[in-house]
Symmetry: D2
Subunit: 339 residues, 4 copies
């Protein structure tokens, strides 16, 4: 950590700052400049709160040199983590996983039918929303436990592990019992109570990036889960909010090499929510695989114009199958395969 002080700071204030910092166990070097003085801090600087330092009226600026995360930081854990989702390994140089399914679970028939098509097309897990975060209180809010039950049914019929989003702590027992990969949605990425509670859970977590969260904040949310005891975390990019309006969000594929450099966690891509438009899903899926993603999560619906939610971004099963097939070819070029 680097702290710079204002021009004209009295020498006694500089020494007061040094004493304060040293009392927290870090070692401090003072570099005297022409317009500013700068302190270099060495040691465990995670104990120091930048904002508190910045509150000192003599302090000009505070900058971190090292990343604020530990458990998920590749610096301290060099090998790739492989996350086991009910027998399917995700991450490292493992095969790429393709997860398909409807935005919302609508009925038992719909769920089983789509699950069978996802499986036939080459998908290896089933996604589906039972509890739905909707912007409007008047929109369909999901079938809840009923929806989870239908997914379990579909898993029994197809063998596909199931992925679903949790929206509140009071459903943790239900998800831990029935769901194979528990998703934290973008809107709850910084619901810290929920993250802490998921740190106690035995199932792996799929942590979506918040709409407007930096990569660092996203990794810090993974750190919350890991720090509470659960290190089985898969990160998922789903587009960020920008000024552009031709797409629902802007898919940030550069997170793939960055997440792999900064952490040891797997990363998958959700091209459906990112673009919000079925026409762009295949193109972004192939791009994600080429860029090195460990998986894709794609919305699939047999009849998008009748979907209860997000039909505009769903692929029909035939198009999904084609996307899986092309992804496999791209995967082979970069030395991997599709699970």
């Amino acid at each position: 950590m680097i702290i710079s002080t204002k021009r004209g700071t009295p020498v006694e204030e500089l020494y007061k700052i040094i004493r304060d910092l040293e009392s927290k166990g870090v070692s401090v070097t003072l570099i005297r400049g022409t317009d500013y003085n700068v302190f270099g801090l060495v040691g465990d600087t995670t104990v120091i709160d930048e904002k508190q330092v910045r509150a000192n009226p003599y302090v000009e600026n505070v900058q971190r040199v090292s990343e604020p995360y530990k458990k998920v930081n590749r610096l301290f854990h060099n090998e790739d983590s492989i996350v086991d989702v009910s027998g399917i390994p995700v991450g490292g140089s493992q095969k790429i996983v393709i997860i398909g399914g409807p935005c919302s679970i609508e009925s038992e028939v719909q769920t089983v039918e789509i699950a069978e098509k996802v499986k036939a097309a080459g998908g290896c897990m089933l996604r589906g929303g039972a509890y739905k975060p909707r912007t409007s209180p008047y929109a369909f809010q999901g079938l809840g436990s009923e929806g989870i039950k239908y997914m379990v049914e579909a898993r029994e019929k197809t063998g596909l592990p199931i992925v679903s989003e949790i929206m509140s702590e009071d459903k943790i027992a239900e998800f831990e019992e029935f769901v194979d990969l528990i998703q934290v949605g973008a809107r709850n990425m910084q619901n810290f109570s929920l993250l802490k509670a998921l740190g106690k859970v035995k199932k792996p977590i799929l942590l979506k990036r918040g709409l407007a969260n930096t990569i660092e904040e996203w990794i810090m949310s993974a750190e919350y889960i890991a720090a509470s005891g659960n290190e089985n975390i898969i990160l998922c990019e789903r587009g960020i909010r920008t000024f552009e309006k031709y797409t629902r969000n802007t898919l940030d594929l550069s997170v793939i090499p960055i997440v792999k450099e900064k952490t040891h966690l797997p990363i998958i891509i959700d091209p459906s929510h990112a673009t919000g438009n079925y026409k762009y899903v295949e193109s972004m899926s192939l791009a994600a695989v080429a860029a090195g993603a460990d998986g894709l999560i794609i919305e699939v619906h047999s009849c998008p114009e009748k979907a209860f939610s997000d039909g505009a971004q769903s692929l029909v099963p035939e198009k999904f199958a084609e996307t899986v097939r092309k992804s496999r070819e791209i995967a082979k070029v970069i030395g991997r395969d599709i699970y």
Copy 2:
């Protein structure tokens, strides 16, 4: 709602779309253009899901004409709502409220001392964080119930109603019993489970705008609370995330006239979190009052460089008193006063 279809859409598909829409109870007018056909929908279009319509491969675009909110919409409720916070009226042409206090509750002594200074300076409510949403799991997470107890103590000594942030549903009973104005923080603005639960509560809600949420989404979150039964809602702008890095966030003061145009709810401004820097708080406070805000919520700390969190943006009590004094003069120019 306006729906446009692609060039070359067969006539039978146009009629299929009309029949589908009419079956939902809206009336449809078809306007035939040169390159596009356009449908105009009249009636209660909140029953129609835009994304579902967009899933039809013949549909080019869907645009809403009317706002998706009802209960908080000024169109259907023309007078200003006045929200009562334990006897203090907020909104309309009422006096402007200034809320002060520390970011985090740190001790009983600190809380009572700051509360007394806030009161002496002209503040009319005490803010303080007992449960703290922190980006890092290693940062101070707040005193919890202990902190709420200290605030209650400070209220007993000073008579100031207390404002504090709730982070999860399981604390609702505690907040309903002890806190006068329950704050939903920016990170939980779309925690829809929490919003629904707060709709059942008897206390007023202070709903902060999410870091990267549009005004429409923010109003929709207020609609969630109102639709669940609690119409005592105060909106609070606290800065949005942009590319600019000289401030922590970008304070969007244009929300003041917009919120007053679109809704009947009161709106207050948090210049401390928006700028993240005590040096800019007074200037933004005066601007907010001049622009017509119904209140300010400002961080105050007796010793910012020792604060457990967010010291950099806290005012010392003397500076807070000066800000209240100047705000009062501005308020009088625009025909209001400070409570």
Copy 3:
């Protein structure tokens, strides 16, 4: 174009609006709703200025149904445009072009050496900055005409067409004479004087997307050039400005399918400026090819840490060669090849 009017607009005002609009040659349909009235306009609505309509105090909102561009709009020109760059065809189902070279032209030796390496590695054009847009007036501003001369030299030695950025109208004669593909940089994307002047030029234009410009504004800038007479335009995405700070900009690869849907122009990707970091360039290059880009423009420098500008994002020639090789494999999977 759809115009909605406010609740309570007097009937005579509705008819005044209709007469005004009809006087501009469009046909108007009025749809009477419960809370709003809506006008649907059919005909050449490009003659109507949205902002002028919005100035009418009875107007609530104005929305365009059709895109505001004509000449570059795929709706009116269905086949892909193939742009000829001194004999190399770009766009459509042609081979993918890979352009390499230094950010800044530094010397004759450097330029020729890098050009030879770019060619050996499989690049088909040479990029290089002679006039440099730099944020700081104290940074290296480019060699100017001297730099263009060195590039011409390199072209003579290698046969590679050259690509360079123009910064002002008074250099047009020089660029038209010497440069094969004239680049308009991100900061000049809406320098409309320059765009109009380039519409008179015989050479093809490489139009970079502005840092914070929407896809629609970007296409409208292409429309400026086309409307002035030059339809040989290649679009280039180079990252947009977002809140994220781990990368210099956020590369928006979804523009590839969108640009191809909305226009008939070729699109290439600049992963070097987008990410600002050589470590992420290969990954983003492969993603761009997989997503369907018509080309790549990559910074290559023999000794990045000695580069006069942007060394941090330059590939050494060996790494560039590897990127070309892998791109070729990806290109083959999607039925194309590298030029």
Copy 4:
């Protein structure tokens, strides 16, 4: 400047970096940490290119401690600059200037009429666009020299100095002869050729902030003009591009205290372009004055719905007069007045 190197960087590479930096005249202190090593640089670090340093594969990160601007930096020039606009002083503790006028100059009659109304309402300068930057090549592009002539006419009749936007270097002679305050528009904020040329001009410059430019980049563009010889610069905030769509742009009023802290230049606010909506202009004007702005630039049109451009954001003269009157009252509260 602070440079951190990667874990495991060989000692000889650390010393190579130190030697390289010292050869550029700065003094270097090495702080050895547990995971990283950090160099602190003291001296004139503006000679060092951050991106070049970052190109070294052993370098992890580079951070500036001091600001990259000199001439406009308050650190080196503590008193406020007062810019003289044909006799009207702008900045410091001078009276606040209010500039009014139409977006586009449309005719001689319109210009003179609005100028007289602006003057009668208490405005002290006339704004008007003769050369118009329009997103669409098919929109009205301005009257050009004819428009400048009408503004000169209006100045002769009213005595109001005139403000107009320059779009290309080849008009500099015309602007230097006829215009009192030469505006650089948001889209040209980083047209460095134009900025350099304006550095040679004798008239003051009104430099608008780019749509998506940081405060630092904006100040660096002022530095370009100052470094070329013209220090008579007024900065103008006009809203930045964000995800919010209820306003055209998001007005960032926090720039007022920041610009005054970082530079010695005056700053004025354009609430018309920022909000894009006449309904929000008064509220944002009063906020700007309360926050300490040195002036306002407001669009005024006698008949907004007939304006050739931007009618939606123009005030009618009566409303403008009311805004000036209220601004004066606010100004008095903060110890200033309206010119």
